[in-house]
């Protein structure tokens, strides 16, 4: 996994509440068996009409086409558990998402894919929307080690992150490998744990 230390760049304002994973990556693109190739389909129905870009959609405008930071509203990533959503965001180039809240499964999936979801209070998000919408090219700088977000205009905020998740992002850790190091504990647990079904068809 791609590790995460600092990201500085343009903030793309996506002004919508409850952005669901069906919107982030529509179902017709979930049939692929690879981890790659989803970036081109990110926000497909919002980005394209009859195969043509919709000029009014934020990520179709300059300077947001290469924005690494997405600013959005509450409950981002709700709905389906599809990890294709963070795969698509990551491949498009999004490394940080700022919102007042995230849906649980999506939030969890971000950390597995080198994306940092940052929760900031509603009023801070609102003020960032005002700045991003009135100052084209508005940039922020995110530093994971110090858990801070800064702007050239003096904007400053700090954010919470669980220590394990921070380490996961900073090091780009192989989680499965880490768990398997404690395999003895799993075996020990299995010896005294019972399930009451058998799959034999």
């Amino acid at each position: 996994m791609q590790s995460f230390t600092t990201v500085t760049g343009v903030v793309a304002p996506l002004d919508a509440v409850n952005v669901d994973t069906d919107a982030i990556i529509p179902k017709q693109f979930l049939k692929r068996i690879e981890r790659k190739g989803f970036g081109q389909f990110l926000f497909y129905d919002w980005r394209y009409e009859n195969g043509q870009e919709k000029p009014e959609f934020v990520l179709n405008k300059e300077p947001y086409r290469n924005a690494p930071i997405l600013l959005t509203r509450k409950n981002f990533g709700c709905g389906s558990s599809r990890e294709h959503a963070p795969w698509a965001l990551s491949e498009f180039g999004i490394r940080v998402i700022l919102a007042p809240s995230f849906a649980d499964i999506f939030h969890n999936n971000c950390f597995k894919n080198g994306i940092l979801p940052i929760v900031l209070p509603e009023e801070v998000i609102q003020s960032l929307f005002q700045q991003a919408e009135t100052q084209p090219g508005f940039e922020l700088s995110v530093d994971l080690a110090s858990q801070s977000v800064k702007g050239a205009n003096g904007f400053k905020a700090s954010f919470e992150i669980a220590p394990y998740r921070k380490q996961l992002l900073l090091e780009g850790l192989d989680e499965v490998g880490a768990t398997l190091k404690a395999e003895d504990r799993i075996t020990e647990f299995e010896e005294k744990h019972k399930v009451f079904y058998q799959l034999s068809f």
Binding site: K31, S101, E175, I186, E190
Partner: protein
């Protein structure tokens, strides 16, 4: 200090519990389907890892498969490749698979309960958000992403942070002619689409205890539509009676041992929840969503909301939803016409759902210009429905009768709602584009969907002229 049901299940599955680290939780049942697993198996291959417990892993194909003629090859090449990949992966890693020819094939959240594999006190995961369904049995069940699917395949465990607990006490009785779907939609409508984010819900109270297992599954299924990690209902005699004799349920002395353990699975009287709310079942009415998330819902005798009357911060998102849905403010819901009707999905495709819909349909014809389909949740449900003659009731009325799968709930196959078409759907999500590009979804109960198919518009099913409906359990 007593413990909640959630806490009891959690503690029974703790493999590693260290300070400042997520806990390592053992997983009793891992359900796998074709869409969210290929990249996980690929990850195992790259690292040369095995599936630790293939005997606790069960696969089926449900999302991207056709629901028409199963004797033909899948026409969609990319979907075919995905399905074939699941076949290869299950063969290579020794996992039981219900393929398209299996009599047990069906929607992942329908098959595990009906075979008695889903049981109280288990931890259950699947790369699918509606895994919350299995909470109806008092199992801790939740959806995970593909990276976590890989983690569970390799280790049979998952790294988890403990959730907060939320009790929803549903008081009183559901009125005649209203359903478990109306109850859960009412709760989401009242508290909102993201109300339970960060929580595991335990549904409690008289109205919940009176629900059948199928109805409890409908309620728990939609916990995720409030943002909850999982929904739980403590097991009771209804649960045990449902499980007894099921194919994979324990038998003989094993049954007795299981029962002894299952009977300990309830929240202690002196346990406390992080949040507790009371909900009155007695005022529940048949519900219809009008917007683009399940919390945007009203009673059948109400109207589409008027954004002009709402505070500024809500106005824009509601205007956006109404624009997408092609609805004018203050339109009575009973005047909303439908083009399609879908009875199916992991929310409402079980035998009871089909019986109740058939009771509404019986003796009527689907309205002109309405296309209606019934997609049983599993091949076993289909077989049972056919044995009861339900298929004939639907077919004679003009419904299509399909093979089992997720179908039009998310339209990964060719069961789609067209642009600007309006669909009465018994599924769980009315998101933009969910059932097809620009498709307009209205979530309802099976009875409400059936009545809309006949009338061509939404109607109050409580006034529907069927004597069968009065019996509630047909």
């Amino acid at each position: 200090m007593g413990k909640t049901l959630y806490r009891k299940i959690w503690e029974k599955h703790l493999v590693v519990d260290e300070k400042d680290q997520p806990s390592v939780l053992y997983i009793d049942l891992h359900l796998v389907h074709e869409v969210t697993s290929p990249q996980a198996f690929e990850g195992l291959r790259i690292q040369n890892r095995k599936v630790r417990r293939p005997d606790l892993t069960l696969a089926t194909m449900d999302h991207s498969i056709p629901t028409r003629n199963r004797s033909l090859p899948i026409q969609d090449e990319i979907a075919r490749k995905q399905v074939e990949t699941l076949v290869d992966n299950c063969r290579d890693f020794g996992i039981e698979l219900f393929d398209l020819k299996s009599a047990n094939q069906g929607i992942v959240h329908v098959i595990a309960p009906e075979l008695g594999i889903t049981q109280p006190g288990q931890t259950i995961v699947c790369g699918d958000s509606h895994t919350s369904t299995h909470g109806a049995f008092g199992a801790l069940a939740f959806g995970i992403g593909t990276s976590e699917v890989e983690h569970v395949l390799a280790t049979q465990t998952l790294k988890q942070y403990q959730s907060k607990t939320l009790a929803i006490n549903v008081k009183g009785e559901l009125p005649l002619g209203t359903t478990a779907k109306d109850l859960i939609l009412s709760i989401i409508g009242k508290y909102g689409h993201d109300f339970a984010t960060g929580y595991v819900i335990e549904y409690r109270g008289e109205a919940i205890r009176n629900l059948s297992m199928e109805e409890r599954m409908t309620v728990c299924n939609m916990s995720i539509e409030m943002g909850a990690r999982a929904g739980l209902i403590a097991p009771d005699e209804t649960t045990f009676a449902y499980l007894k004799g099921k194919e994979c349920a324990p038998k003989g002395t094993e049954w007795e041992a299981a029962l002894t353990e299952w009977k300990t699975l309830s929240t202690d009287e002196d346990a406390t929840f992080d949040l507790e709310i009371d909900f009155d079942a007695e005022h529940v009415t048949p519900q219809v969503t009008w917007g683009t998330n399940p919390g945007q819902v009203v009673g059948i005798n109400e109207k589409v909301p008027n954004p002009a009357e709402l505070p500024e911060n809500q106005k824009r998102s509601i205007e956006k939803a109404l624009d997408y849905m092609g609805l004018a403010p203050e339109t009575p819901m009973t005047e909303v016409q439908v083009d399609k009707v879908f009875i199916g999905s992991c929310t409402n495709s079980r035998i009871e759902d089909l019986r109740k819909a058939a009771a509404v349909v019986s003796g009527h014809q689907v309205a002109e210009k309405v296309e209606a389909l019934v997609v049983p949740g599993s091949q076993l449900v289909k077989q049972q429905a056919e044995a009861e003659g339900l298929d004939q009731i639907f077919l004679q009325a003009g419904f299509e009768w399909r093979e089992a799968g997720c179908s039009m709930c998310l339209g990964m196959n060719d069961d789609l709602v067209g642009p600007e078409e309006r669909c009465a759907s018994t599924s769980n999500r009315n998101f933009e584009g969910r059932q097809g590009r620009k498709a307009r979804t209205h979530l309802v109960s099976p009875e409400m969907a059936a009545a809309a198919a006949i009338a061509g518009h939404f109607v109050d099913v409580r006034k529907w002229p069927t004597k069968e409906l009065k019996g509630a359990n047909v």
